[in-house]
């Protein structure tokens, strides 16, 4: 047994360099497509005298300058703070309400109209209301993030809990599980894939809510920065900020994915 494990370890160690190369080789076409796009952008930037299309290298230069001067660092920190609070709140409320709606039909009937309407309506329309009520405080941009992220988490959680195989629930009941045990041992783990789909969508929407809300309030964060350089029509700086937001979005998504893999390892 021990020998077998050692064997596996050895094989894995040997194949590691190849494992590093494999994704590169397998995604060669995708990589080339992206590289082609960047080169095309660069060429168009130099050849066409369009004020809104600076060469890609200028965008990278603007980004480097931002990072060096520390402007980006400070604003990313502010934005991420709002994102963490807004998304954290959406997560706690969304999972709780969603689980209750999935478990108890009466709760679902009581709330479904509102959740459905809020999910369909453009979340940004609430920005003027929050701005009017909360003013320039952080509450306004956090509230916008919550409006973006909350409802998709609720919907996915309630669907996940509701569609858990009733045979599992019955079995747990017949073995004497109480409501608490039923929730923690059966409903929660069985609904996890759908719940995490909701969390992933919610995170994506939260990042959008973050940037849109900050652009609307235009006081702090990446959104304010984008609004500032946007109104001065500094294209390369605007592109650089969009690039940073993209990185933030990918980073947030990556964190959710890591947690998901940890928690749903049993599923494979």
């Amino acid at each position: 047994m021990a020998g077998a494990t050692a064997e596996v370890l050895k094989v894995r160690r040997v194949s590691r360099p190849r494992a590093l190369w494999r994704p590169l080789r397998e995604n060669a076409i995708e990589g080339l497509a992206l590289l082609g796009g960047v080169l095309l952008w660069e060429a168009c930037g130099w050849l066409l005298p369009l004020p809104w299309l600076p060469p890609f290298s200028h965008v990278v230069a603007a980004l480097a300058q931002f990072i060096e001067s520390g402007v980006i660092g400070a604003n990313v920190a502010v934005s991420l703070q709002g994102l963490a609070i807004g998304f954290g709140f959406s997560l706690v409320v969304g999972l709780t309400v969603g689980a209750l709606m999935g478990r108890y039909r009466r709760v679902e009937q009581a709330l479904d109209v509102y959740v459905y309407a809020m999910l369909l309506s453009p979340s940004m329309v609430f920005a003027p209301i929050f701005f009017a009520i909360f003013g320039l405080s952080d509450m306004a941009r956090i509230a916008v993030i919550v409006m973006y992220a909350l409802f998709v988490i609720i919907i996915n959680t309630s669907t996940g809990v509701r569609t858990v195989d009733p045979a599992l629930v019955e079995m747990a009941r017949s073995f004497g599980a109480g409501e608490r045990q039923l929730f923690l041992r059966i409903l929660l783990p069985a609904s996890l894939p759908l719940v995490f789909a909701g969390i992933r969508l919610g995170m994506g929407r939260a990042v959008k809510g973050m940037i849109n809300g900050e652009m609307f309030i235009a006081l702090v964060g990446l959104g304010a920065l984008a609004q500032k350089y946007g109104s001065q029509f500094e294209a390369s700086k605007v592109f650089a900020i969009a690039l940073v937001v993209l990185i933030v979005a990918l980073f947030a998504n990556w964190i959710v994915q890591i947690i998901e893999q940890r928690l749903t390892r049993w599923a494979d």
Partner: protein, 266 residues
């Protein structure tokens, strides 16, 4: 026979109970809103009755909401149609051809992840403050969801069906018309619905952030004059439009493809 009738009766009772519950919850919601708004006496938070009054005035008495709505919806209609015309063929191509898909894949991921709002100034520099910018923005918001869903629908078509058709001598055109497109219809409609929701979001966002026109401008005007009842009423009108449009789309979807279910979600 009797059992079926009983089951139908209990189902009807259940539905009645559900609606009774919904009405009670709504009444509770209204009461809490009304009372707390009255107690706060905040200029920025209208009571429920004030909001309803504002809504009635905007929609029926003065009709102030209609012209801005019309302006906003021009961008929505044009942008959404463009998204459909672009999004479906792109999705079909990516779904059917492995090479096109691999070339497009990184860009699909990019467009899905890239934040559109900060790029609005770029769009305005390129196209000006007019209708064109708003239309393009709606397209940027909507078309990718139509593409992704169409691609997923085409990919979900059972390959053995295509093989069988080929072995019976069907050409590519016939395979498209008889197998691929009918098989992908449910997913395409799901994409059209999700794309519609995104298009409405794009329409509102551009008007609130940079191109002050349409309902966005109306909202900002009322907010600037501290007419909270009208701000809430306008928001309510926009929500009504979004819910009505997307629900109508869902009804069409169920008619066209009753077996449909979401493949990818926005």
């Amino acid at each position: 026979m009797k059992a079926a009738a009983a089951a139908r009766k209990s189902r009807r009772e259940e539905a009645i109970a559900a609606w009774r519950l919904r009405i009670v919850v709504f009444a509770l919601f209204v009461a809490v809103w009304e009372l707390s708004a009255r107690r706060m006496e905040n200029l920025l938070i209208p009571t429920f009755t004030e909001m309803v009054g504002g809504f009635v005035r905007l929609v029926f008495v003065t009709g102030r909401v209609w012209e801005p709505l019309l302006i906003s919806n021009q961008a929505l209609v044009l942008g959404y149609l463009l998204s459909v015309v672009m999004g479906i063929p792109l999705g079909l191509a990516a779904g059917r051809s492995r090479w096109i898909n691999r070339l497009m894949n990184p860009y699909i991921g990019l467009v899905l992840a890239v934040p559109v709002a900060p790029l609005i100034p770029i769009l305005i520099t390129a196209l000006g403050l007019g209708l064109a910018s708003r239309v393009v923005l709606v397209v940027l918001f909507a078309f990718i969801f139509i593409t992704v869903n169409t691609r997923a629908g085409v990919r979900n078509v059972d390959p053995s069906l295509i093989e069988m058709a080929q072995s019976f001598g069907a050409n590519e055109g016939q395979i498209w018309r008889k197998i691929v497109i009918p098989g992908a219809v449910p997913a395409i409609f799901a994409g059209l619905r999700i794309g519609l929701g995104r298009a409405i979001a794009g329409m509102v966002i551009v008007e609130l952030l940079l191109v002050a026109t349409g309902v966005g401008r109306l909202l900002l005007e009322f907010a600037g004059r501290l007419q909270a009842d009208l701000v809430f009423a306008t928001v309510f009108a926009i929500i009504v439009e979004a819910v009505v449009l997307v629900t109508a789309m869902q009804v069409v979807e169920r008619k066209v493809a009753p077996w449909a279910h979401d493949v990818a979600l926005g």
